[in-house]
């Protein structure tokens, strides 16, 4: 892998990997700003936007070419906008053409702020306009921003409902075909196409068929302009007001990488506004499923922001005191770990059991059904950290717990919603008189619990999960929390260890991670820094789950 070749960019020799797209070499090793609209790292090259033009030296002198299609070869000589006035002029020209029929409605465009067109206009644009209203295509149509196609039928328009999740603004579309390529090549469901030709080309679905796919919201992400927008985020926030933290998909064991975009200023208070895919070529490429993307909507809904005790609400502190008392007085304690919580939380489960000594026993696993991998960004297993729990040495033995439920007088369930997974099996656990539930939401388990303590949800904690392929990935904490009293599960479990003779004294999730490292040999040597935003692979010797192919 390490071998590189030398190409010459603007008179300077640059070491680049061989046979990659020139645009990657320019953007990466050559550090030359290269605009592109149609080019996307995880899509096939279409080469139609023409803004990434460069000059290369060939047998017939300097020739124009598009850097997204050209490949690096030894001795390649490239001129970019840095050294070629021609490129500067032509890019300005291309930018002008892109803008001829593009509306100037950035102020109400949801893409504004993360719009590729805006970015590159600042870098490569003409900056003084010579357009007037007579040159846009809509002048032949009407004031409704519609135009007549070659058959005289009105097309275009500002708000076209493409399907359940996507709205199209035809006027903003620059026909880069990224969405078309995504739907056909990645989603394998070619629901979109460009119809018409010339500047009357337009993006459309097939007649009377909506755009409806589990991954269709990705088209809004890859749309370089605001033509495709997701209905869930339409007009909600301006993107420059959002801050983001990096996290992963907590609802699926592939752990698709994503960012949590939130806004914690303003009179509205903090709120998580959206989840966006984060590119990780080894996990989910640039894609996340709609299901994952809409998870943020649950973060402020139905939350267990306080504690519960004997059926009534109480503060978290009171609930914790009651739980400690129950654990202290217990003869046999069953503690259920959870694949929905981080590895740190599960390490805390083990540490608590250890502290409680012989009277505690740890169970793990889930009754949720495992689906099939779709090959893009979902593995189908809803237990995100199943692997991490396994690597900590917790067995999948919930049925065993059901079998000997009578032996226990206290049940501590840490973030594992047993009752909604299987109410029938879980009903047998109701013989245990004291049932303590740690949960972020008011779920079925909380309803059946005698003591419930609210914990932070996945978006609000820092920790790690191990995906189905044995990749340790980090979740970072978003500061938006419904109740600042809420603590992460490991922290609550640490507090519950007061019931033991030697309570745990962990100060942060780093202590929890160190404990996890002590328990799971696969984590040896890993630090949060070494895991980083892209994750770190553990040795797969202990794998029992088949690896799921990463995205296409």
């Amino acid at each position: 892998m390490a071998d590189t070749i030398t190409i010459n960019v603007d008179g300077k020799d640059v070491q680049v990997p061989p046979r990659t797209q020139l645009i990657e070499a320019l953007r990466g090793p050559a550090n030359t700003e290269t605009p592109a609209f149609c080019y996307h790292q995880d899509l096939k090259v279409a080469g139609n936007c023409r803004i990434c033009l460069v000059e290369t030296e060939g047998p017939r002198g300097w020739a124009l070419g598009i850097s997204c299609h050209l490949q690096t070869a030894p001795g390649l000589k490239v001129r970019t906008q840095v050294s070629s006035d021609k490129i500067v002029k032509l890019r300005k020209g291309v930018m002008e053409f892109l803008l001829v029929n593009h509306p100037l409605d950035c102020p109400i465009c949801d893409k504004a702020g993360e719009c590729t067109l805006q970015e590159h206009y600042m870098g490569q644009g003409k900056h003084e306009s010579r357009l007037d209203d007579a040159v846009g295509k809509q002048y032949k149509g009407g004031a409704d921003h519609r135009f007549l196609d070659s058959k005289g039928i009105e097309r275009g328009g500002k708000k076209i409902d493409l399907g359940p999740s996507i709205v199209l603004d035809q006027e903003r579309c620059i026909i880069c075909t990224r969405c078309v390529r995504f739907m056909s090549d990645v989603a394998k469901s070619p629901q979109l196409d460009i119809a018409g030709r010339g500047d009357h080309a337009y993006l459309t679905t097939f007649p009377d068929e909506p755009l409806n796919h589990e991954y269709d919201l990705n088209t809004a992400d890859i749309c370089p302009v605001g033509a495709l927008t997701g209905k869930h985020f339409r007009f909600q926030q301006r993107v420059w007001m959002l801050k983001s933290v990096e996290s992963i998909d907590p609802s699926d064991s592939l752990g698709a990488n994503l960012t949590i975009d939130y806004n914690n200023s303003g009179s509205e208070g903090g709120k998580v506004w959206r989840l966006m895919p984060r590119r990780n070529p080894d996990v989910n490429k640039s894609w996340i499923a709609n299901r994952t993307r809409l998870l943020y909507q649950n973060l402020a809904v139905n939350r267990l922001t306080d504690g519960k005790k004997a059926g009534g609400d109480c503060t978290i502190e009171d609930a914790t005191i009651a739980a400690v008392a129950a654990l202290k007085g217990a003869k046999r304690v069953a503690i259920v770990a959870s694949g929905h919580l981080t590895t740190e939380d599960n390490a805390a489960v083990l540490a608590l059991a250890e502290a409680l000594g012989g009277k505690a026993e740890v169970f793990g696993g889930s009754w949720l059904t495992v689906g099939k991998a779709d090959g893009i960004a979902l593995s189908g297993d809803p237990v995100a950290n199943r692997k991490g729990v396994e690597l900590l040495g917790i067995k999948d033995n919930l049925d065993e717990l059901v079998a000997k439920a009578k032996d226990f007088d206290v049940l501590l369930v840490a973030g594992n919603d047993l009752w909604s997974a299987s109410a029938e099996k879980a009903a047998k656990l109701e013989v245990i008189p004291t049932r303590i539930a740690l949960s972020a939401w008011v779920d079925a388990t909380v309803a059946k619990a005698t003591i419930a303590i609210g914990i932070r949800a996945w978006a609000e904690v820092r920790g790690s999960m191990v995906n189905c392929n044995g990749r340790v990935q980090l979740l970072q904490a978003c500061p938006v929390v419904p109740n600042s009293q809420l603590e992460a599960a490991w922290s609550v479990l640490t507090a519950l260890s007061k019931a033991a003779a030697k309570p745990l004294t962990w100060a942060s999730e780093v202590d929890a991670w160190k404990s996890a490292q002590a328990r799971g040999s696969a984590f040896a040597g890993m630090t949060y820094r070494s895991i980083g935003p892209m994750g770190q692979q553990v040795a797969l010797s202990t794998t029992t789950v088949q690896p799921v192919a990463a995205g296409v």
């Binding site: 609209f37 090259v45 279409a46 080469g47 139609n48 936007c49 023409r50 803004i51 033009l53 124009l64 299609h69 002029k89 032509l90 300005k92 020209g93 291309v94 002008e96 053409f97 892109l98 001829v100 029929n101 100037l104 010579r130 007037d132 007579a134 040159v135 295509k137 002048y139 070659s150 620059i174 026909i175 196409d193 460009i194 018409g196 030709r197 010339g198 500047d199 009357h200 080309a201």
Partner: protein, 448 residues
């Protein structure tokens, strides 16, 4: 059936015999039928004359003949054939580009109407030379009579054993299919044509890979014009030298020229390359009125002014030296009564309409130029609009995937360069063009 001016054509001109390489059967009654064609020597090569030669020999022969593509680009045909990789295990396809869409060009149509068998003969030779099992004729959708003729001719050929398995008793088999296009100009571009042939949208592909390496159905593909292929049998018959007897040294052979415009007898003429334009006009009955300029080779070729036309000859080199091109051989002289901006408007509108919409500069640029030209012709022009049009054409000239954009840019650039005062007259017609120009900067922004 089709009555064209120019027929009957003279066989001699100024004491010299005019070539009848391509148009031999044009004036023969029922020349399109196999029987009549055979009488006139068509299919004469299908036999030992062909099958005794090796593929490489044939390719060398065509190379030596100096035959160049007659579709417009003028790429040496033999060289094109030699690019086809051998032994890849993939089939090689031959596709005949009969998607004749260049404004002013109507030669292939006539070829297919009057002499389809010569085309089939050429295809058999080419197919044999390249190892083709399946060949396509991609015909423009509007050419219904031609499609009928071709299908009839192919049927006749199949019936006569000239197509299908073991042609003429040889080991060579060839199937020919007529593919009807949907009438898009861009499908005359070879990769666009291949895309269309495959059932995709007729949009050019990124090159490389070139079609010779990976074309139709991801296999090596040769795309040739009708007229090019029709010249192949003659070359085989008379050898490279025989073909080179006509034309100039660098542009050997003859070519069909479709002439229209301000000429007394418009039509299709086969003349040797190298004849001067003025002489050719004389051959066509002379010009109407005083010459103002001439489009030398299809609407995408840069226009020639009257002086340049007088200097030009009908060959690739002469026109290249005048910064124009022979193109498809569609010659359109126009006289001093021509309204040049409206002429250009027509051309620009054609290109705006026919742009496939794939590449940004061509998609938006052609429409942009069209609308600005419309504005100028409507008398709404302003100072600077001419430069704007020129600048826009410069911007999209070479920045696209295929050669459509330069083809759309050249007429614009050349018309403006050579007839600027005609455009200025239109702008001067707008009484307040100067005031209008000032208002551009004063216009309030978004009204809403």
């Amino acid at each position: 059936m089709t009555t064209l001016h120019g027929f009957p054509q003279p066989t001699h001109w100024k004491g010299k015999e005019l070539p009848r390489i391509l148009s031999g059967l044009f004036q023969v009654e029922n020349g399109h039928t196999l029987a009549v064609a055979k009488q006139h020597g068509v299919y004469g090569t299908i036999g030992p004359m062909l099958f005794d030669k090796s593929q490489l020999e044939l390719i060398e022969l065509v190379k030596d003949s100096g035959l160049r593509g007659r579709g417009g680009a003028g790429f040496p045909t033999g060289m094109k054939w030699s690019f086809v990789p051998r032994g890849t295990g993939k089939p090689v396809y031959l596709v005949i580009n009969a998607d004749e869409g260049e404004p002013g060009t109507f030669k292939d149509r006539l070829c297919m109407t009057r002499d389809p068998h010569l085309l089939i003969e050429g295809m058999i030779i080419t197919g044999y030379a390249l190892g083709v099992r399946t060949a396509y004729i991609y015909v423009r959708g509007e050419m219904l009579p031609q499609i009928t003729r071709l299908n009839d001719a192919i049927k006749e050929a199949y019936d006569a054993g000239l197509l299908g398995e073991n042609i003429g008793g040889s080991q060579y088999s060839l199937d020919i299919y007529v593919h009807r296009g949907a009438g898009a100009y861009i499908c005359g571009e070879e990769t666009g044509l291949i895309n269309s042939l495959e059932g995709f949208k007729g949009q050019p592909r990124l090159k490389p890979p070139f079609p010779a390496v990976s074309g139709a159905f991801a296999s090596p593909t040769v795309v040739n014009n009708v007229e090019t292929i029709m010249a192949v049998p003659y070359i085989l018959k008379h050898g490279a030298k025989g073909y080179r007897a006509f034309g100039t040294d660098k542009s050997p052979g003859s070519k069909l020229f479709s002439i229209s415009g301000d000429i007394v007898k418009p039509g299709v003429y086969e003349v040797p390359l190298g004849m001067s334009y003025m002489e050719f006009f004389e051959l066509c009955g002379g010009l109407k009125g005083e010459l103002l300029g001439c489009i030398p080779g299809g609407s995408s070729a840069p226009v020639l002014s009257a002086d340049e036309t007088r200097k030009a000859t009908l060959d690739y080199e002469s026109l290249a030296s005048l910064k124009s091109m022979l193109g498809s051989g569609a010659i359109t002289p126009f006289n001093t009564t021509t309204d040049v901006p409206k002429f250009l408007q027509t051309i620009a509108r054609f290109y705006a309409h026919e742009s496939c919409g794939q590449c940004t500069p061509c998609r938006e640029g052609t429409g942009y130029v069209d609308r600005v030209l419309d504005k100028v012709v409507d008398g709404q022009g302003r100072d600077g609009d001419i430069d704007l049009i020129k600048d826009l054409a410069d911007s999209y000239e070479w920045t696209t995937i295929c050669a459509f954009a330069p083809g759309a840019a050249w007429p614009v650039q050349s018309f403006i360069a050579k007839y600027r005062e005609h455009f200025q007259r239109y702008i001067d017609k707008n009484p307040d063009h100067a005031a209008a120009r000032d208002l551009v900067t004063q216009r309030p922004g978004a009204f809403w």
